[in-house]
Symmetry: C2
Subunit: 346 residues, 2 copies
């Protein structure tokens, strides 16, 4: 008889339910967008395309440097509808104030968009390898600039791909938010990392990598500096963690050769997802300790990919327990079989 | 200049961002379904419609009692694709086991579906008041039956309305999961409730109700036993909490007259949402302490409604901070203006 299973996330102590009886084959998850190959390379109505630079706020940075308003390959702009915005002057760090029993703070921070390529239809799995390396180097350089701001407590780098992942803009882009609070969820991961370190004198993420390498069933791929696996307590189908093999608590500690390897590993994983699940909607996010914790033994930055194949419903909202219908062992096997070469559209 | 705002949920200490510059008017949120009025009252392909009782597992309960296989007004069945399932015998409470460094448990529990009406197109806001009262009485009676099971640690009652809320079945129904673990998220709410009680010797939810009644801006409606408000740190647009005015930690403590009043308040709120947002997709969930905590001073059960108007994207996933584009003060004002009378389709 079929029996669902609770699995606990070793790094957060959160439970998920693996209910793989409803398991779907990859082709049963429907894509919400027209294929990338049917999208033009330039769109006159896209604010992120070249020649429309004037329709966005002035660029903050670009690659090659100096190409901010023309000839760029990667372009960084302030988000026109920011979730957080700079205070009246950068030295002014927001204060908490009360409204009755409640606590509030000014929404001080920064919100940037990284336009990853001038070509409207050239998504990350299609970029020349040296180009996606420049995107990762730009992530790193914006991270360093943002952690240097007095109001920054945490930098969150993330990507929304497709409508189910929260974006309607097709043009390839990622986003960076510098937040002036460290959220509860991140604090809990730091806390659980510290508790694990107290007990075993080792980083929980390093231990996970070691166990997964020995075990093998959940490893997707490895390269010199990175290891990709489907976590034991994956909260969604085909969830992937991409971890640096060398222990670093913060994204800011990644060296240039690691960033180049990150680009190659990320492209490889996104190409596998593209082929296996027909270009699924997904979010990725770089999970890092706050920058002032650089060097700590108990945390380990990583890039996490969350395909948006199923919908979070009332039980998940009410309990915080994810229901996952594809086992991570099955997902890893299918991802290993999929080809990780760069996608070349006809 | 526009400035976003962090707000802290007093009951959980989680932050949200209110970024109401992007604020949308209700009509700008699109509905994903055909209007209920275009849906037939009976569908031969619907497993929840009368005369198709044989296509579901055998009923667990029905109203009127004895009508399980015909003539029912409310019918409870086991979920055919359960997230959790009974163990080999009910006395067998699942044990945790290890897989390498990881913890797992058998997915022991119960997963039931409450079919709320025999009529395929008669949703909660349209039910005769005495009928929706029977639905709430059924919630309560199934809650009592499930907390009596040895494996049950927490009962989660929830409803998914519309595709964005995670259901493709139109026929009006709710679900009940009896879980053999108490999840992290629920523990954190209990913990923060206790901390607040340590400091003030009062229930945080009772304090919230008192402040909101004095303040007024976030109150949607009240009746004899219930109060509806849009929480100060609403994580999504038009989030509503429906709280019993009398302090009870668990749903199991609700008396029959309170359950009847819950039905009337819930119908009133769903009718307002239906009119204001054109029958939006939503989830609701009954948030309760575990039943063995009945009577504690520091927790307060409630029904929470989460309209699914926007999409949780990479920043929310990576930080746990919700971004809300409609202020709860604005949402409450609009909901107060909307009519709460029962919906009568032409």
């Amino acid at each position: 008889m079929f029996m669902p299973e609770f699995r606990q996330n070793l790094a957060t102590k959160e439970w998920i339910i693996l209910a793989a009886e409803r398991q779907k084959r990859p082709a049963q998850f429907a894509r919400s967008r027209p294929p990338m190959g049917e999208t033009p390379a330039h769109s006159a109505s896209c604010p992120f395309c070249p020649e429309q630079e004037a329709s966005t706020p002035a660029a903050i940075a670009a690659f090659p440097s100096g190409s901010e308003s023309g000839g760029w390959q990667v372009r960084v702009i302030p988000n026109k509808f920011p979730a957080l915005a700079p205070g009246p002057d950068e030295e002014c760090v927001a204060c908490s104030t009360h409204e009755g029993p409640y606590l509030r703070r000014e929404g001080v921070g920064h919100h940037e968009v990284v336009i990853e390529t001038p070509r409207h239809n050239e998504d990350l799995p299609m970029l020349p390898p040296e180009h996606i390396e420049q995107v990762m180097l730009m992530f790193s350089s914006r991270y360093q600039a943002l952690v240097a701001m007095p109001s920054t407590e945490l930098v969150v780098i993330f990507r929304n791909h497709g409508e189910k992942a929260g974006t309607s803009i097709i043009h390839p882009h990622s986003q960076i938010v510098a937040s002036s609070v460290v959220p509860f969820m991140v604090r809990n991961k730091l806390y659980e990392g510290q508790r694990y370190f107290d007990e075993y004198n080792r980083c929980v993420y390093c231990d996970i990598m070691q166990y997964e390498r020995e075990h093998g069933a959940r490893v997707v791929m490895e390269n010199e500096h990175f290891m990709a696996l489907t976590p034991y307590a994956s909260s969604v189908p085909y969830e992937i963690w991409l971890l640096p093999r060398e222990h670093h608590a913060t994204f800011g500690e990644a060296e240039e050769d690691e960033l180049r390897d990150l680009a190659r590993a990320l492209q490889n994983l996104l190409a596998r997802l593209y082929r296996l699940l027909d270009d699924p909607d997904y979010n990725f996010v770089i999970d890092t300790a706050p920058d002032h914790m650089a060097g700590v033994s108990f945390y380990h930055w990583r890039l996490e990919i969350y395909p948006r194949l199923t919908t979070r419903a009332g039980f998940e909202i009410g309990s915080g327990i994810g229901i996952n219908v594809v086992s991570p062992e099955h997902a890893a096997a299918a991802l290993r079989e999929a080809c990780g070469d760069r996608i070349i559209l006809e």
